[in-house]
Subunit: 191 residues, 2 copies
DNA sequence: TAGATTTCTTACCATAGGGTTATTTTATTC
DNA sequence: GAATAAAATAACCCTATGGTAAGAAATCTA
């Protein structure tokens, strides 16, 4: 929780009272590998701030194939934001891919914090702006790069994530099959 | 401008003073088809709110091929948000694909509005949240749908845009070539 | 309305990546 | 450290999409 407070303090000045409120609405949790924190089809009540380990969010298509939307490591937030922001049922599943430590927030209570402590608005606006940028970049990469180029960029951008996660999750994030990724890795190794 | 004010009023209560400020920092503009509003490599000073017509933002890859990131029609915002939020030079180009009417904002001045009139924070947070949702959905669609499925969904979601834009821009948004889109259209017509 | 330009379609072949299944390698677990 | 499970690679052939080039259709313009 200290990490999160520090992160917030980097961006805005946080009153004592607001800080206490954060403690009230959150709960530090230890998660073991393979736990499902949010499950497709259910109501989404929680948002998670990761302090250790790695999680991912994914959807499952008609053929049962999984598609990874996001990985989350230390200092990242993860949830089903489609569901939260649209007030819908979850279309995503959030699962831990290693043992993790997270700070769990009740999404509704977290949302009320903007009314109670408006100083959070600009913190959150900043987060959202950066989120939009990274999503724009991801879409552009998907449009213009080949699979090997996307894989190289992924390794460069998120070297830590490779340590945590099996390749087939990376493949499902890049939009290719595990077999294609394997081929790409073989080609890479030749050089 | 009235449309925009109305849109804002739907979301937050806007003081007289704040409304006047909006007028001060904006300028209504008539744009003719094919104008470049933001150009790759240059500083991005403007953000546009569209009141009529259609524009798009795109990047150009090493082979000179264009990739459409976004279309914008009535009531949408468009700019190079990667550049604005990261304070970088433009990697995108914004071009009108029909004659348009837009409201032009100086991006910096627009950004200062949150300090001057904090009521805008929650308006903008809302916009950004919805933007994140639509980007998440787009990424998931790109990962799990075939090209014909993506095209169908596009027509369903944005029927207006098809009226405004040549097919090869739609193709470049869907991540396929104009020839592939043509094939898909032929298949569709058979059914 | 003729000519020029832009957009769309078609046809060809090339290729990246997919699906299936088998095998090898690496991690777990007892 | 043997047994099991999980992950990665490999080899097969298949298909969707790409690239190129040409022609047809639509749109613009003088």
């Amino acid at each position: 929780m200290k990490e999160l407070i520090k992160k917030i303090r980097n961006s805005i000045s946080l009153s004592q009272e607001a800080e206490e409120c954060l403690y009230t609405i959150s709960r530090e949790k230890v998660i073991s590998k393979g736990e499902i924190l949010i499950c497709e089809g259910q109501t989404v009540k929680k948002t998670f701030f990761v302090t250790d380990g790695c999680l991912r969010s994914f959807c499952t298509d008609n053929n049962g194939k999984e598609h990874t939307l996001q990985f989350a490591i230390k200092d990242w937030w993860i949830s089903d934001f489609i569901a939260i922001y649209n007030n819908e049922l979850a279309t995503l599943t959030v699962e831990s891919i290693t043992d993790c430590k997270v700070i769990e927030f009740n999404a509704k209570e977290l949302d009320e914090i903007y009314t109670l402590y408006p100083e959070f608005e600009s913190f959150q606006r900043n987060n959202l702006e950066r989120h939009v940028v990274s999503l724009h970049k991801r879409i552009l990469n998907q449009l213009q790069l080949t699979a090997p180029e996307r894989y190289d960029l992924f390794l460069k951008q998120y070297p830590e994530i490779e340590q945590y996660t099996p390749n087939y999750h990376i493949a499902s994030y890049l939009g290719i099959t595990q077999q294609s990724l394997s081929r790409i890795r073989v080609e890479r190794a030749k050089k």
